[in-house]
Symmetry: C2
Subunit: 304 residues, 2 copies
Amino acid sequence: MSEPAFIAVDWGTTSFRLWLLSRSGAVLAERRSAEGMTTAMRTGFADVLQAHLDAIGAPADLPVLVCGMAGARQGWVEAGYIDVPASLSAVLEGAVRVPGQTRDVRILPGLAQRDKGAPDVMRGEETQLLGALSSGDSGEKLVCMPGTHSKWVTVKDGGVTRFATFMTGELFEAISKQTILSHAVAEAEAFTGEHEAFTAAVRDIYAHPELATNRLFTLRSGQLLHGLAATDAKARLSGIMIGLEIAGAHSQAKRETPVVLIGSGALGALYEGAFTALDIHYTVIDADDAVRRGLLAAANAIWP
Amino acid sequence: MSEPAFIAVDWGTTSFRLWLLSRSGAVLAERRSAEGMTTAMRTGFADVLQAHLDAIGAPADLPVLVCGMAGARQGWVEAGYIDVPASLSAVLEGAVRVPGQTRDVRILPGLAQRDKGAPDVMRGEETQLLGALSSGDSGEKLVCMPGTHSKWVTVKDGGVTRFATFMTGELFEAISKQTILSHAVAEAEAFTGEHEAFTAAVRDIYAHPELATNRLFTLRSGQLLHGLAATDAKARLSGIMIGLEIAGAHSQAKRETPVVLIGSGALGALYEGAFTALDIHYTVIDADDAVRRGLLAAANAIWP
């Protein structure tokens, strides 16, 4: 039988996920809640964590490893950033111990790119990277982590050479809810990454990224002049934002660099559709698996 | 002394402007209010107009020429669209008479580009064009009309060959108020088109438009890593949005095509700064003058 060895926690801005893991990574218990950093800042990080540990009856001496926004300046304890270029093992070495806790609780740092022209930060995604890439990986890869603030990371021989954040998800939300285009997409139904309006927009913007804010207006003018349907309009909006992101990510790397997509669910499927439409070779890793595996690898290294 | 000859009205979504004009264009009286289409849809277009005519004591038989959103489907009387390519004189010929009025009230149509790949519409800006370009103009020009939905129009030998709308102003508002970047720009002070963060962002995005949604994130990461000041952040945001618009507009025309900027105030000055930063040759026409002159030219043609 698997013995519990670590508690692994992915503590984001708006979500909290906890796993009780064996040394080999078997999941012995799991907790999920909406007590992300925003909530925990008010109710107390230690109390939120303890309530979940109590709920699963976690042994008192088990260490806890945390990644994500809990390590931000406004989080529980600031865990700083490791500067890129960096090897992924540098992330493990930068773990910060939370003071005043009986239990050994540590928070992993984020990554920072201090380049004045392209400053960038990530917190949480570095742990997904750790879980998605095996240490023996060689050659160059582009790792894509879609979301509110999508991350594209260039990984070479197990180290991060550079990365870029694209505000795709947040802009998609703001545009579809807070602009004149909200009327065009209000009645939209679900669509997939194979939807023709989506793939056409991805290809159009990948080829002409400079026309992004013009093409957005075609959601309105297409509705006025050609009766563009709401679902097509929303699929086009999504294709414009994702196509622009991929064009930007590719401008910083060779087009033929293999892409590793760390994604799941409907959003992951949209990116798969976009990559297929653009003939980009990709492989997929589940985002949940990746962060859990990353926390496991780090925990095994910190508490051997 | 100048005799009153026409009433000219620019009736937009959120603003109403009226001038009492002589045949030669002398302004004999003027009214401005916030009773744009949105307000007039509720209170009645005829009543809003009559109140302003009463206030200036307009003679009962004077004709009224209107341009702008009052001619939209949800406006007073739908004035339709003239399809491009079109000569500007086609706009005059498309004026629609408002039924049931004792006075001769006409509304000018908009312009439509029915191209399935780049559908576009304008309503009101066609009248600014009419006022800004003299009928004897030859050669090709790019006319830039900045705003919530900026318009770029390619004019050749007095006719409109194509145009494109960019959602620059509306996206600037949504991004600076409705996203995580709102914190970075909240305390910003006024800046000009010569501000270094603005011109640097214009040049960067003009050269790399595909990185627009990545560069937006640098308002946040620049603040975290380098203490980017709020005014610099807001200037950078403005430079990203305007630089992207100019890159898009230039992708549809020759870079050396002369630009006519129909603009005024702080926004016009930002575009002047951007054009200077990009070494783009431009001339400026005041937006208010342009629409009034366009209405005058149309009125003189309709009521000779």
